[in-house]
Symmetry: D2
């Protein structure tokens, strides 16, 4: 699963989608509704972003995963996306989880940055208890004292989850690392430990990305990444 | 601010309200909508709980603070409560924050258990940007490796907040400590550091409380606590 | 207990000692052997520093606490100091602890910045098992994700220790906070929670201190601090 | 590098050494001097343990890595071992680091469980500044709130170190995980991320190990591990 942090324009989305498609991505990621720490930061294009994602699917055939952040936009996201993301900040937003549980679409549930594995599984349970059992869990780093990365990627989450749950687990090394230089090695690590997939940020022009440019891969890096993890996955 | 973790019955709520009133509490706390890690745990009495809280106010004159967990129950909570609590798990539930910002009632915003002070202030900003500037911040402990308490109470949050914000800060030592034995000394510490108030759990029969009994004060302990912090506050 | 981070010169030490004595300190702190993260940082004046500390005692009557960092300098420190400090980095340096346990001087044992309370008590046990039962424990902040202070001061350590041990507990808010602005409120908090004393950094000219100037109190701040905690301690 | 946590007897050490040798280990690990949290726990066989390690080398040809915990036993360890380990608790024991820096033997320096990458590199600098540049760094997990493993293995340490240092990095997944079930996947992850080697605990009879049995691999598990990482390393 690959794509930009935020959908910025049709041209940006299609450019990146063609890149990630060419190198073997199966799902396109990109936020239309962005949960941001500050109310004054760019909050995403909203439904316009979703319409762009629809075009991405039509043109490239990639599946679409994008985030729903509340009870209002989940209705829209459900209409446009193939997989609905519930973000780390909303991992214990129980009414959103219950609503996701009543959706017919699969849910990508990200681990809160201070959540234990048990809490992550309990949040998945909120979704499944409503009838939607197609939940994909996502490890994306936890908060620690360590300052060499934005968050500390906890790859031990993978065997910990697989010991007690049948749910697939994907890893997002981009948000954990906060720096593109670490994304390729951490992606290899995730696959080697046993992740069922990875979710990475890619941008054709990271230096001008509206958010998270520092952790977005260049096109050539994504090509390298895909070659390496395809080999590993075998 | 004092009261049980959850409203369990009219008798329970009134019994505890009379105790805390007698010893000088000004606000009664008690959850009607409880955000619980597991979907199978007791989730609160809902609107029945709010009706009980109304009776508590009528009988004792105490103000009521209780939690709203989503866009549906905030309408109800707004109707019954004097102060609307947004809990730690919802500190970055931005649509709930925006909705709270359109309320005429003051908001008690709890710090997420892995939130920085800056993130807490930015979440307050989501509320205030909508026009509601009556926000009370609450330090309630953060997640660390330390295992002597449930969370590590970060009293340095008080001077850190007061350095950059005029908002009042209260401290919840009950959730931080997770054990009633530590609540009195930590409450004294909070007041001495400069907190504008404290939020504690009290139960007339903690051993039979439906949730958080382990950290609820006995009536006599609450009496001691109030005597000590009144002295300190002077 | 108050004084500079490091002994820099006789004049500096005596100037600060007179200040802290005047405002009621009973013990003078100051490092002669400084454990520094980098081998290229100022490592302290060594035995020259100890000789200065001796003069401080002779002139002011203050007791002296200073750190021993290894098996060599503990012999010297023992000779000059009234209380031997074992620092946070050495909390699990078991041969140093055992050596401290064979000393006739009291030991101030600082909690490692990632040590649990149980580990701190076990380290005290290493000292006491050798026969020296005069151990003073010191809480000085733990490493967490929080970035508003250098370390997160864990005042719940005080009731946690007092629940299972008779050993006195002092608090060092200077190293925890990393900023002098927070030292006064956190010192009040420490005393209110039940600390038996505090250990703070004071400098007559913090802007030119060789280490930790950012967290050293000015003389007038120390005067305020002492007035406030004397009142609280009563 | 593989072997038991502690050397318990000649028979135990030789049995395990033959197992790990057969499956491709190059270095035998095993503690003769054990730094233990409690003074009342088993502290290792001391020089008797070192003599056993010497026999292991003579019989199997494996190199020996074992821990020195202070200025006394480093003399002995130096005599018997091929690589001297400085443990996590001693990562900032600067006099031990300096002494290690005057040794002719390579040093395996473990990251403290609350040390940043910069602090680890600065500790390596203490060794190298004395003239011994043969330092091997070891990531072994950090302390966080997460409770699914004993410590959280931080595989991002590998690219972070390799970005600024030429020193080799090995990973110890046994101490990080605290459970043998996670050691194989985490070892694969370490190699895939770019570790230069791994350090694992193996015991022929983990249920009766004197320490850390819960995280020691069975012989067959070690065979599987070696097969998998040899493949990955290619």
């Amino acid at each position: 699963m690959a794509g930009p942090c935020a959908i910025e324009s049709e041209e940006q989305a299609l450019t990146i989608a063609r890149i990630v498609k060419r190198h073997g991505a199966q799902v396109f990621r990109g936020g239309a509704f962005k949960p941001r720490t500050s109310p004054y930061s760019f909050q995403g294009l909203g439904e316009d972003g979703l319409r762009i994602l629809k075009k991405v699917r039509e043109e490239t055939g990639l599946l679409i995963v994008t985030e729903a952040t509340d009870h209002t936009n989940i209705e829209l996201v459900e209409e446009y996306a193939d997989i609905i993301q519930v973000g780390a900040r909303n991992m214990q937003n129980y009414s959103l989880l219950r609503r996701a549980g009543r959706s017919a679409k699969p849910i990508l549930l990200k681990r809160g940055f201070a959540a234990t594995i048990e809490e992550l599984l309990m949040s998945a349970e909120y979704i499944m208890a409503e009838g939607n059992t197609r939940v994909i869990l996502c490890e994306r780093g936890i908060r620690t004292f360590a300052d060499n990365t934005r968050n500390t990627l906890d790859l031990s989450a993978i065997p910990s989850i697989k010991e007690v749950s049948h749910l697939p687990v994907v890893v997002d090394p981009s948000h954990a690392a906060g720096r593109r230089e670490y994304v390729i090695p951490l992606s290899r690590g995730a696959i080697a430990v046993g992740a069922d997939g990875i979710l990475v940020e890619v941008h054709h022009d990271p230096l001008h990305a509206l958010s998270d440019g520092r952790q977005s891969l260049y096109a050539e890096q994504f090509a390298t990444l895909m070659k390496e993890i395809k080999f590993l996955a075998r």
